[in-house]
């Protein structure tokens, strides 16, 4: 094999197929970017697998991030791929501990951009108190994928006796959200379409585990926790209503939505209830714990806008009903297909 002169990372601008070959170029990339930022004893051993010690009951989750654009107001694919999986793990009532990350990178991708992304991953992992302990990088020929895809998987230790589940919503329960709805979805939508609104909309992308830990360690009974990502609050609540075979009623006038997000959605024909969130979770719990839960949430910056937004009822089973501002009722259905801009 010919020596690869250009494999020197410093001074090189773009990812080459060599970087995924497993040879010297790969090694340099691992050392000079991945290990540099994500360093910890387990990762640094660079064995084929990570050696972990965890408690008996674990929560395990995986997600693949293909977001476009990869840099957006409020975060980037690096922030997202850590906080997204951390949040999924935490939703069961678990303390996220270890993550893996797999990169698929398009040939020609800017190394500076990769470094920015990995730095965001490191910052977010630090915030969340998790370690990235194993990883993989593949480089594919230009045009095979769009820039960069990242998969993260992770495990966390359960700290509750009875894990939260979408099946546990019970009539009489209340629904709380930790803050404003639709920020991430609108930020991505406007960045992707290059739409310039008069106000800045930023993604809410953030790891929620410390807030969740605080909540589940102090509130003895939380039935459901779920992060309303793709499909938004409306779709997530529909999933829960179906899983638990209950009706979930939302109070329209209580929904926390930033004025800018509301206006932006009006202009673009979008509905905040169907827009993705990346730093929010829905929490369904018995009515008697509502005040305590809100108080705990509001103490955390990620929960300062926490609001009671709905309640669980018996019927109509499997449906989400919106109690509208004017005192009417209507169905809030699941998102069907792509969220397309509206005509007119």
């Amino acid at each position: 094999m010919q020596p690869i002169i250009s494999m020197e990372y410093k001074g090189m601008k773009r990812i080459l197929l060599d970087h995924g070959s497993g040879g010297l170029a790969s090694n340099r990339l691992i050392q000079e970017i991945f290990v540099k930022y994500l360093s910890n004893d387990i990762l640094n051993s660079l064995d084929d697998a990570a050696y972990l010690k965890v408690s008996e009951r674990v929560s395990f989750s995986t997600d693949t991030y293909t977001i476009d654009p990869i840099f957006f107001p409020g975060g980037d694919i690096g922030t997202l791929c850590i906080s997204g999986t951390v949040n999924d793990i935490a939703m069961l009532g678990a303390r996220p501990r270890y993550l893996s990350c797999g990169f698929i990178i398009e040939e020609g991708f800017l190394i500076d951009d990769l470094e920015k992304i990995v730095k965001s991953m490191a910052d977010t992992a630090k915030k969340a108190g998790v370690l990235v302990v194993t990883g993989d990088t593949k480089v594919v020929p230009r045009g095979s994928i769009d820039k960069i895809f990242i998969n993260t998987s992770g495990i966390g230790e359960l700290i509750v006796d009875c894990p939260m589940s979408g099946k546990r919503a019970t009539p009489g329960d209340r629904v709380i959200i930790n803050g404003t709805i639709g920020d991430h979805g609108l930020a991505i939508f406007t960045a992707r379409k290059d739409i310039d609104l008069d106000f800045e909309v930023r993604s809410d992308c953030a790891p929620l585990n410390s807030l969740i830990l605080e909540l589940v360690s102090k509130i003895p009974e939380v039935h459901v926790m779920r992060d309303p990502t793709r499909g938004g609050v409306a779709t997530t609540l529909n999933e829960i209503a179906l899983q638990s075979n209950v009706c979930i009623e939302l109070f329209e006038d209580a929904l926390p939505i930033k004025t800018g997000v509301k206006d932006g959605c009006d202009i673009l024909g979008l509905d905040p209830l169907y827009l993705a969130n990346e730093g929010k979770f829905l929490c369904i719990l018995p009515e008697k714990y509502v005040d305590d839960a809100l108080e705990i949430m509001k103490k955390d910056p990620l929960g300062k806008d926490a609001t009671l937004i709905g309640q669980v009822k018996e019927t109509p089973k499997g449906k989400v009903v919106l109690n509208t501002k004017i005192g009417g009722k209507r169905l809030l259905s699941m998102l069907e297909g792509e969220h397309l801009p509206r005509i007119c």
């Binding site: 501002k325 004017i326 009417g328 801009p341 007119c344």
Partner: protein, 358 residues
């Protein structure tokens, strides 16, 4: 407290409407934005039992005939064409059940635009391609399309044209009341369309057919105000056309927009989904702007195509049946795999029933 006040006002108005009703009163709205507002706000759940709401042909995507859809699809399949569309057209199935989404997956170049002006920019950025804007919409949309064509002419842009399937509302209303198939006791007239055309094009509804009609805004309170006026005129047997949306609608409409329409378009017969051809209800690009007429530029001719089997969108659009009466509703036809256009557009009555109906 604000919420409680609104609810109190709404309740009050609903009961005043109820007081006007001595028997069933059926009103039709002919604007997709009204359809959505009535459903989305939950207003429909508050209507008194005697007040019957039907949605007419007010959703531009829904009224687009299979013949016109076939023409747009034919264009999308041509090489070196970028078809610029409003988002909703993406999922409308043609007579074969194919959509632009399917064509895009096969390699067709389709671009979703928010404004016709975006498509002009697209043409300037893609000089080696022909960019065609698929003009779907009523009087509200037409002036912007017209202005875009005027702009294109001024700038001497050669690779831009418009496939005009625009429609105008009053002839469709005339057709509905003349056919007499459905009893309509009152019209809730479209706020947006009226800002352009004004009040007088609707006068015939009251004068010739004794049907009270009210131009209304889109907030729930505005709609209820309009319904109060409609039911009052019905009770007193004093049919008139009333403008309850004066902050946006001037009696004479928007003269400037009308001038643009008259400059760039000429009235022609139009195909309406489920209805067929209605005299003088369509808009073609006028002779002065013929170089921007995609039909002429690409030699497109209407083809005789069949409507999808079992689809009753046509009857829904005329208020003859409720979406729930269609055997395909919610079964074979859902927003994710729509058979007819009324299930595609967010403004379509079938989609509204499916999405919001409790």
């Amino acid at each position: 407290m604000e919420g409680v006040d609104i609810q109190k006002n709404i309740k009050g108005l609903v009961s005043r409407i109820e007081d006007n009703l001595k028997g069933p009163f059926r009103f039709m709205e002919v604007c997709g934005t009204h359809t959505v507002s009535i459903f989305r706000s939950g207003l429909r759940s508050l209507f008194p039992p005697l007040l019957e709401h039907i949605s007419g042909p007010g959703c531009p995507v829904c009224v687009t005939h299979s013949i016109d859809i076939a023409m747009g699809m034919e264009l999308a399949e041509k090489k070196d064409i970028i078809l610029a569309i409003f988002g909703d057209m993406m999922r409308v199935p043609d007579h074969r059940g194919m959509t632009l989404k399917d064509l895009r997956a096969k390699g067709a170049n389709i671009s979703i635009c928010y404004s016709p002006l975006d498509s002009l920019k697209l043409a300037m950025d893609n000089k080696d391609k022909e960019v065609v804007f698929w003009g779907i919409g009523f009087e509200t949309t037409v002036p912007t399309v017209g202005a875009t064509i005027i702009q294109a002419k001024k700038m001497g842009i050669k690779n831009f044209s418009v496939l005009s399937h625009h429609k105008i509302i009053p002839p469709a209303l005339k057709f509905l009341v003349e056919s007499g198939d459905v009893e309509i006791n009152g019209f809730l007239l479209p706020g947006h369309v009226s800002t352009i055309i004004g009040v007088s094009p609707y006068e015939f509804l009251a004068k010739e057919y004794n049907i009270p009609s009210v131009i209304s805004g889109f907030e729930p309170m505005e709609i209820l105000d309009a319904l109060y006026m409609l039911t009052l005129m019905h009770k007193n047997e004093t049919p008139q056309v009333i403008n309850c949306y004066p902050r946006a609608v001037k009696p004479e409409g928007n003269k400037k927009a009308q001038e643009v329409i008259n400059e760039v378009f000429e009235v022609s017969d139009g195909y309406w989904r489920g209805i067929g051809e209605i005299e003088a209800s369509g808009l073609e690009i006028s002779r002065d702007y013929v170089e921007f007429d995609a039909k002429k530029k690409f030699g497109l001719k209407p083809r005789d195509v069949t409507q999808p089997k079992g689809c009753r969108c046509g009857e829904v659009l005329q208020g003859k049946i409720s979406p729930k009466d269609c055997p395909l509703f919610g079964k074979k036809c859902t927003p994710i795999s729509p058979v007819g256009p009324c299930m595609v557009s967010t403004e379509g009555s079938c989609a509204a029933y499916y999405k919001y109906g409790v």
